[in-house]
Amino acid sequence: MAVKNFVVASFDDEAVLFPAVKKVRTAGYKIHDVYTPFPVHGLDHAMGLRETSLHTAGFIYGVCGTTTALSCMSWIFNSDWPLNIGGKPHFPLPAFIPITFELTVLFAAVGMVMTFCYLCNLMPGVKKHIFHPRQTDDLFVMVIEVTAKTNAEEVKALLAQAGGLEINEQRAEAGWWYGRFDQDDEATLYKNAETATVNA
């Protein structure tokens, strides 16, 4: 969690966005993020983002489900309370398959969704800074972090040249906080952040 300065530019077409991303990266600026209303394929590669490992996590959760189901059922039927059910064996593997399968799917799905929410900081009550209200509608919003070394004017000129619209500077919280979207709590948030910095 940190309050930072950003240069923000909007693009109204993916065809303009892609070369702009390339341009900004070649110029050596670090793109904080690009906000899009829908998944733009290849944007992650263009921005140089790492491939996600969410699938691997899903696989591991699935294996946990399989193991849980098989070990629990066989422990119950063989060791905890062996019961003679119609003379059937205590380890009837074919009869265990349906529940084993269901638990595999259940563990994988629930685990993945929870991991997804954790990684993306998604939860009811979580609030984040919205750089442009139309970033979930029809604009592709590129956000570049302004550090002590960055010349904000230069970045702005570069973005304007690359086809960016409504270019501006915003001071915003880069992470998330607990808040309500109907309340304008960002001003106090940044004030507190500043006081904290001064006190430190």
Binding site: P37, V40, F96, P133, D182
Partner: protein, 495 residues
């Protein structure tokens, strides 16, 4: 892979001159307006039905399952019929959202959100029946395997009825997660354009703070794909396990290996019919004809005629096996007490509605006719209800001991219970249609530039600047490397 161009022979999935903002406007604005008179009428009828259902069930719980017309011979009647029927209806939603995603069927984007909602509500309705069929419903938690003070008394993991508990609850959970993860970006869209404070607050909470970050979209895509991959075998397993409730028994008419595929095909059949019923109304009421087009209707009618014919083949196979197996009891069940006998009428309703009438969909004109589609969708669901009734009741009412033979008609609490689930289903669906984006907004935007009517036309008007080799190189190999529109520019930058 995503195509740069799509053949003009394929009809557009989004009609009219649309841009991204127009898509948002078309789909989100019904949420922001006041509902019409028809909505209120429909909603209150649904709530009334729901309350009637609550009354009927309360009556049953108070006086016991004896108020139902079940008896020693017919232990499963309307309750289990309705359970299987509702679960089956749910299957179309998952088929559309998961299996068609894996098969890259673009037309699913227009209908998946509503179909998934239908799945969730249908499974909620289905679940009520086995729970209240238990009789002493306050002991329903006995089906959960946990270390308890009753022994510990564990559940029987060999029993298909217990497999059902796992299958239905997993199915419900996974469908809900799949549906809701898709809703997050759309809720954020509603939130960011909200004018009132209350709407901003509620959709802000519902959107979990989604922003549309590139990294989040990347993970979201991965999540959707894996959930689709998990849901595909899941949906097949669920109705397979439901069919095991019957197939693992020794009742003639139930004890058959054809049940799993036969049940799954029937489930998809009835589910698509229910999707048609709902969407024909939704597209009209919310003016979404540009997004749920005749092309969508036709595609679903093709699935209906296919699965209807699969089900028809299953019926004929059953009849053949009943004769060929030369088991007198099996033969009697099919030829004396199903196709004929006191409940024979239900068999012929099933045959007519499921096998004969859907054949009209071999004709393109019929597939693209709204009235025919709507009427057929109702007929198919009546037929599929009777299929479950036939399987359950006509196998039971003539058992091995002629002195136990009986007839079955439901009592009012059974009918009331069924009506109540309609109330539950439509109450949920009306709320969904009013407060949720009924079409996946982000997904429509994603396919807009390849399949939108105006974009398809514009794409055909200009000549492709790249040579054939370069085009093939760019669009056939590095398909994950660039966006689905403006590839040429993106790729030039890439190189």
């Amino acid at each position: 892979m995503h195509l740069k161009y799509e053949s003009t022979l394929r009809e557009p999935l989004v009609d009219g001159e649309k841009n991204y903002h127009q898509v948002t406007e078309d789909i989100i604005s019904p949420i922001e307006g006041k509902p019409g008179k028809l909505w209120y009428v429909g909603f209150f009828i649904s709530v009334a039905l729901l309350l009637w259902g609550v009354f009927s069930v309360t009556w049953e719980v108070y006086y016991g399952t004896g108020v139902w017309n079940l008896n020693k011979t017919i232990g499963w009647g309307w309750d289990i019929t309705n359970f299987v029927w509702w679960v089956g209806i749910g299957h179309a939603g998952t088929l559309i959202s998961a299996i068609l995603l894996l098969f890259r069927q673009g037309w699913r984007t227009g209908v998946n959100r509503a179909a998934e909602a239908m799945t969730i509500f249908a499974v909620m309705c289905a679940g009520q029946f086995p729970i209240f069929h238990m009789g002493r419903v306050w002991m329903a938690f006995f089906v959960l395997p946990y270390p308890n003070t009753r022994g510990p008394l564990w559940v029987n993991f060999n029993s298909p009825l217990l497999w059902d508990v796992f299958a239905i609850s997993t199915y419900f959970t996974v469908s809900l997660l799949f549906w809701y993860s898709g809703l997050l970006p759309d809720f954020a869209t509603v939130r960011d354009r909200a004018k009132t404070k209350l709407r901003k607050l509620l959709y802000g909470v519902a959107s979990f703070g989604w922003t549309g970050s590139a990294k989040h979209w990347q993970r979201h895509e991965a999540l959707s794909l894996v959930l689709a991959g998990l849901s595909t075998p899941l949906v097949l397993s669920v109705h397979t396990i439901v069919s095991f409730d019957f197939a693992t028994s020794v009742i003639p008419g139930w004890h058959t290996t054809i049940f799993p595929p036969y049940f799954v095909a029937g489930a998809i059949f009835s589910g698509f019919a229910m999707v048609q019923t709902l969407l024909i109304i939704v597209r009209k009421v919310l003016s979404l004809e540009d997004y749920i087009t005749m092309g969508h209707m036709e595609a679903m009618n093709k699935v209906i005629v296919l699965t209807g014919s699969v089900v028809g083949c299953a019926y004929l196979t059953e009849l053949f096996m009943a004769w060929y197996a030369a088991v007198p009891y099996e033969f009697a069940t099919f030829y004396k007490y199903r196709a004929a006998g006191p409940l024979g009428w239900s068999y012929w309703i099933m045959m007519t509605c499921n096998v004969i009438t859907p054949q009209v969909f071999w004709f393109r004109k019929m597939r693209r006719n709204i009235v025919v589609t709507f009427v057929m969708s109702i007929i198919v669901n009546i037929g599929m209800w009777f299929e479950r009734f036939v399987i359950i009741c006509t196998s039971l009412y003539r058992d091995y001991l002629p002195s136990s033979w009986s007839y079955y008609r439901p009592s009012w609490p059974e009918v009331g219970f069924y009506m109540g689930t309609f109330g539950l289903f439509f109450t949920c669906f009306f709320l969904f249609a009013k407060y949720f984006p009924v079409i996946a907004v982000a997904e429509i935007k994603f396919v807009l530039k390849t399949t939108g009517e105006s974009f398809k036309r514009d794409n055909m008007e200009k000549l492709e600047p790249l040579s054939d080799e370069q085009f093939a190189h760019d669009h056939a190999h590095h398909h994950d490397d660039h966006g689905h529109a403006g590839h040429a520019v993106a790729h030039a930058a890439h190189n």
